[in-house]
Amino acid sequence: MVDFSVWQILSNLLLAARWTLALSLIAFAGGGVVGLALLAARLRRGPLVRLAVAAYVQVFQGTPLLIQLFLAYFGLGLFGIDVSPWIAAGAALTLYAGAYLTEIWRGCVDAIPRGQWEAADSLALSFGEKLRHVVAPQALRIAVAPTVGFLVQVVKGTALASIIGFVELTKTGTMIANATFRPFTVYACVALMYFALCWPVSIASRHFEKRMRRDR
């Protein structure tokens, strides 16, 4: 048994929170790229592609993130890739975030009245121009609040990476709890750390939502 003061527990957890933050940002940025690519594919290509994207979203929203992490961890290994927890967690969380973000953003694009597309068509704008000058500016306004809200879900999702051996906040908490035999204090501190990370983001998301409603 190791003796840790609460201060030492907190400072160790604070150091580990860096990796939670880093993984969250990687997943969010990667998921954003995947989400945008899928959204573009859905808007532009035929029904077959649309069906494929819908299936992708269904699979990632219909299976546990934990199992997705396991599949990435063991699946990449099948191809002879030496899988570090960083790669497995980054890949799984990116694909997971991509599925949710593309669905969120599709909702935002769908919320733009058809007349806007038709008006843009009648001006002979190309697909890219329609998106850039007509649809995106309006859809982006709607998208801010749910996108920021989803960031909370990503941060919480990274906690599952602890199970495949990624040393972030939760894993560090487990290790300290095992070393000090003080799981009550340690897990309470871990929860508070996540709360400190996520709560401001939740408040921001609500703020954006209120502002959007008011502007309408």
Partner: protein, 225 residues
Amino acid sequence: MSRLDFAAVLADWPLLLRGAALTLLLTAVATVLGIALGIACARARTHGRPLARALAAAYVELIRNTPFIVQLSFIFFGLPSLGLRLSSEAASIIAMTLNLGAYAAEIVRAGIEATPRGQLEAARSLALSERQVFLKVVLPPSLGRVWPAMVSQVVIVMLGSAVCGQIAAQELSYYANLIMSRNFRSFEANFVAAALYLALAAVLRQALAWIGPRWLFGRAATAGR
């Protein structure tokens, strides 16, 4: 690339079935308790006294801004130091209930706040007590309005319960882990588990969409939309 062997995993189908059954059981219990807790908190936040309002808000924010796995670890590993020792199944149910309760509270609250004023006035003019107004006039249509969101949340909680295998609750992911530790077919075992979760999610969605209007809020509540 080594060859995939799904037969080795599927041969253990009785274990997978048992795991899926416990996943559904945990989810069913947590759904009933969690929605009840959510309704209580939603009522506290919309009709309660200032203290009840603040407590319900704190609970909702605390749960919604921390990961489920930390909540579960706190309950299973942390509470025994206060003398509260729980089986892994009991800890799983409590964690899932508390988790669902917080999200359900926000969902139900949105439904309650969308109640037309006229309905409240009509109910009060019939001299119903506040309690009767809430239970008979406000709540059923509110649930009807938000039921699709509630169903999605229950599915999310069911999928989240995969973590409960980590504290040795013998649900689906627990058996997937057990199978892969026996035959080292790690990818195949998790792939089969993922397929089963996908099927469970679809079944759960259908079941809840069927149950809601029949048992909870009546078909009239959704017919008006």
